[in-house]
Homo-oligomer: 296 residues x 2
């Protein structure tokens, strides 16, 4: 199976699992549920949950143990997008070719759908911790829970910094700091979570952390390049909004060519970080290339 | 020490603990931190965290073990108020005599301050679970974590139902359902959390659950009465907004007199639920009376 087929297979695995959690939901509130499903069930790439599964698979044959963590990750990612799109923050009308949540429903529903997704993610992980079969497993899951909370905290700080610096000049360090928090923390969390759940050693977890850092940054740089030069039809959202909103991005700061060079370098570094894992890390290697080359 | 003095003492205990967590925060983002502190450090009554401490104290002499849970509860309560006040939801300009968070700062900051508080609450409890000294303690704390997540889920559903039914006629059952979720779930969680952490039996936890249900409802009915007939100066927010916004409340549905009668009855039922605990539950008994008689 080539990479694209494998990616599709794992996207499907994540989608099926998300669906199970959605149908399990006992919230009687149909419209709130619909709003949650609307943003959750989509053409999303599911990169973050797949990172958890694939990082785990370096050390184990299966991936089932990770599925609830994968679902929780995608829920939190979706929460962050719904709130990010709100009129009070980025005020975006479209995401992934469809109306944003508050445009499709209304602002109150979008705020609460986001809150609910964040909380549901914790409900799922809290339940996983409580269900652990032994002390070792409970410990690993508790560590993941703690790192999950830290990553979300960083994401919120990054989101805040991003909002705050709009229209101001910032340094490369400040830009890196925003994205290390806003985007990087989740990528790092995902590869670490997979490795921790699989019982990997500290040393191995650290190696994957480097890979996570690199692809997190690569993802953001590519996002900035696409936002400036991508095809609006393919991406399902308007192009050129960053410049319009005077947003600090790698492209608005360094230009497209320099950003492409940066992207090339960090992708290589990400691939190098996996050197020790040979064919076990083939998917993650290809994923780094995919992040660099994607057109949406 | 009479009840008012004791209440003050415990408010102070909660405030000192909240303060510790705020100064501990390493978020470099001063304005986001300020916005969080602004809503957290206030003249709030701290009823929910105090309920945790006092419910615990029925079974144990100390209360220290509960403090992180008390802090987490107040953080989540504050998150719910900040988001509730947003222009997209209730659009309130004042709370507790001061500008609401989005009026003092801006909408983006208020949304993210709320998100951050919800997440910080989980960070604190996740840390508590991980720090448990033995399996029994870990189990109790995990149960509390799970009930916390459920209560927050209910609160969000209640908030949604409340928003959705504005301007429509609803039945008493529907009104009860909104408030059992929106207000009741936290009161029930608090008394249960204290009892669970103290190692109380299932039967004892259930007795306290009834008390929690009753004071939760009493709190809401009194809130509705105050919103209609209270002194705006004492309350620090305008009076009559519920009617203005065509909100379904106990007062807009049954009138002030009937609501007062209901309040009297459920307060008596709350006090009765504590009959077995004699002087151990004196504070909780007085608290039920306080909820009924408060003027803000």
């Amino acid at each position: 199976m080539d990479f694209k087929e494998q990616l599709k297979k794992y996207q499907e695995i994540v989608n099926i699992e998300l669906d199970k959690y959605l149908t399990k939901q006992e919230c009687p509130e149909k419209v709130l549920n619909q709003a949650i499903e609307y943003s959750l069930i989509s053409t999303a790439k599911r990169l973050r949950p797949i990172l958890i599964l694939q990082s785990y698979k370096i050390f184990r044959e299966d991936y089932e143990e990770c599925l609830p963590f994968a679902v929780a990750m995608e829920m939190v990612h979706t929460f962050s997008l719904i709130h990010d799109d709100l009129p009070g923050i980025d005020n975006d009308d479209y995401r992934r070719g469809r109306l944003t949540n508050h445009k499709k429903y209304n602002e109150a529903t979008a705020i609460l759908a986001g809150d609910s997704l964040l909380n549901h993610a914790y409900m799922i992980i809290a339940n996983e911790v409580a269900q652990a079969n032994n002390c070792e497993e409970a410990k690993r899951k508790m560590q993941v829970l703690n790192e999950f909370a830290d990553a979300i905290n960083k994401m919120i700080i990054g989101e805040y910094l991003d909002t705050e610096c709009q229209g101001t000049q910032i340094s490369k360090d400040e830009l890196d700091n925003i994205h290390n928090n806003k985007t990087g923390a989740f990528f790092i969390y995902c590869v670490r979570a997979g490795a921790i759940l699989a019982g990997a050693s500290e040393e191995e977890i650290n190696k994957l952390t480097i890979y996570g850092e690199k692809i997190g940054l690569a993802f953001q740089v590519k996002d900035d390049i696409l936002s400036a030069t991508g095809d609006a039809k393919i991406m399902g959202k308007p192009v050129g909004r960053d410049e319009e909103m005077n947003k600090a991005t790698y492209v608005t700061k360094f230009g497209v060519d320099k950003s492409r060079e940066l992207l090339e370098n960090i992708t290589n570094e990400a691939v190098e970080a996996l050197n020790d894992y040979k064919e076990k890390a083939e998917f993650l290697r290809e994923l780094a290339i995919y992040i660099k080359e994607r057109n949406k």
